[in-house]
Subunit: 228 residues, 2 copies
C-alpha cells in the first residue's frame, strides 16, 4: 500500500529552495489556434464545440476534408474544417482525438506537420514495443490530456458547465501549463498537472472504470481532484 | 479515443428491463467487525482511526501482536490489536493495508483465516503470472478499495471530513455494496462502484499521478467522481 503523501513528506524535509511558482498562474492561450484531429468523432467534435464556444479559434481535422467541413459548419462558432495535414500545419496546439485503432498510424503519417507543435493526445502518446515505451512524435512537444470526457455532455448545448477536471501529463512544464490553460477555457473544467507521460497509461485506462460508473449510476461521470 | 458514455448509450438502446435498484441503497454495516491487516502502517492506521471514530468495531493486525496492541492503544476509540491471523479470524471484513512488497505472501499465508471473509484490498487483489491474472484468495470474497488515501489527512485529528470518493471494485454486487457502505461511514467519503477486479490495476496505479499532483500543488489530493 503506497501512501500518496509519502513522497511529499520526503521533499518537505529537503533543504529550502526558492519559493515555488504559483501552479495556477497559467499562460494566456486565447490567441492560439487549436486543431482537433479526429474532430468529426463524438468526443473530438464535443471538445471542438466547447473550445470554440469559449472563444478559441478551432479547426476540425479529418481524413476527408469534406467531412471536416460538414462538421465545422454544423458546430458554428467560427470552427473551420480541413484534412488532418492542413489542420496540423495551421494549428498551434493539436489535440489528437482519433479513434484508438488508427491512432499510432495517423500520428506517424503526420510527423512532419506536427514537428514543433504542441500535440495533446487524448489516448497515450507513447508507442510500446519489446524495448518498452518510445515517442511516436520525437519532433513534437507532447502532452496527454482530455482522456475521459463525456461526449454526450460536451455536445449538449443545454449544458453550460462541464463538471470535471482534466488530468494533464507531460515533460515540459511550460507546455503542460498551456494545455492546463486550454482546459480551463471550458467553463467548469480545470486542467490539473498529473505527472509525466510515463504515467499517462493508467489515466487512459481509467476510462474503463468510468464506463462502469456510468452504467451503474446512469451518469456521465467525471473526476474532480480534491484539495487542489 | 474512447468515449466514456458509448457503452451506456448502447445499453440505453437495449430493451427495457425491470427498474434498476437504487445504487445508493446500501446495507447497514455498523455491526460488522473490521480488521485492518498492516494496521500499524500510516495508511492502515489512519483508516482504522477513521472507521473506529465513526463507531465501527476495528481490530488492527500486524505480524507482531505487540506492535498491533501498541498502535491500538494509541488510537483509542475501542480499537483492539492482534496478530494478522487472529485479526483475520475475528473480523467480518478484512482490509489489507500491508506494504506492496510483502503483499502477496501475507495474503497467501492467511488463506485459511480469510476463507469466506470479505477481503478488501488497497492494492491489487490479483496475482499475475505468464498466464495472466489469478486470484490470490480463491476462497474469499474479494473487493478492491481505499487505494489512494492520504495517510496525513486520515491521521490528523483536526480534520473532520475526508474530501474524497473511494473507488470500490469487485465481482459480487452485495459485497461491493458492503464496502461502499463501509467507506460511507467516514464523514466526507463515499464508496463508488468503479468496475470489476480486472479494472483495479489502473486505479491502483493512479497513486503515481496523485503523488505528482501532491508535489506540484503541495496538496493531499483525493478524487471525487462527478455526476453520481
Amino acid at each position: 500500500m503506497t501512501s500518496t503523501d509519502s513522497a511529499q513528506n520526503a521533499s518537505s524535509a529537503a533543504p529550502a529552495k526558492a519559493p515555488a511558482k504559483d501552479p495556477w498562474d497559467l499562460p494566456d492561450v486565447s490567441g492560439l489556434v487549436v486543431g482537433v484531429l479526429g474532430g468529426t468523432g463524438p468526443q473530438g467534435k464535443g471538445l471542438a464545440y466547447r473550445l470554440a464556444k469559449a472563444g478559441q479559434k478551432v479547426i476540425i481535422g479529418s481524413r476527408a476534408a469534406d467531412r471536416a467541413l460538414a462538421a465545422a459548419e454544423e458546430l458554428g462558432h467560427g470552427v473551420e474544417g480541413a484534412d488532418n495535414a492542413e489542420t496540423a500545419r495551421r494549428s498551434d496546439i493539436v489535440i489528437v482525438a482519433v479513434p484508438w485503432e488508427g491512432h499510432g498510424k495517423t500520428l506517424e503519417s503526420l510527423r512532419e506537420e506536427l514537428a514543433g507543435k504542441l500535440v495533446v493526445d487524448c489516448v497515450n502518446p507513447l508507442g510500446f514495443d519489446k524495448k518498452g515505451a518510445y515517442a511516436l512524435l520525437p519532433d513534437s512537444r507532447v502532452a496527454a490530456a482530455f482522456h475521459h470526457l463525456s461526449a454526450v455532455l460536451l455536445q449538449d448545448p443545454e449544458i453550460d458547465e462541464i463538471d470535471t477536471d482534466v488530468m494533464v501529463l507531460g515533460e515540459e512544464r511550460a507546455d503542460v501549463e498551456i494545455v492546463q490553460a486550454l482546459a480551463g477555457r471550458i467553463p467548469g473544467m480545470r486542467g490539473v498537472f498529473a505527472g509525466r507521460l510515463r504515467n499517462a497509461h493508467q489515466v487512459e485506462s481509467l476510462v474503463a472504470n468510468l464506463i462502469s460508473v456510468n452504467r451503474r449510476y446512469k451518469a456521465h461521470a467525471g473526476l474532480r481532484v480534491t484539495d487542489v
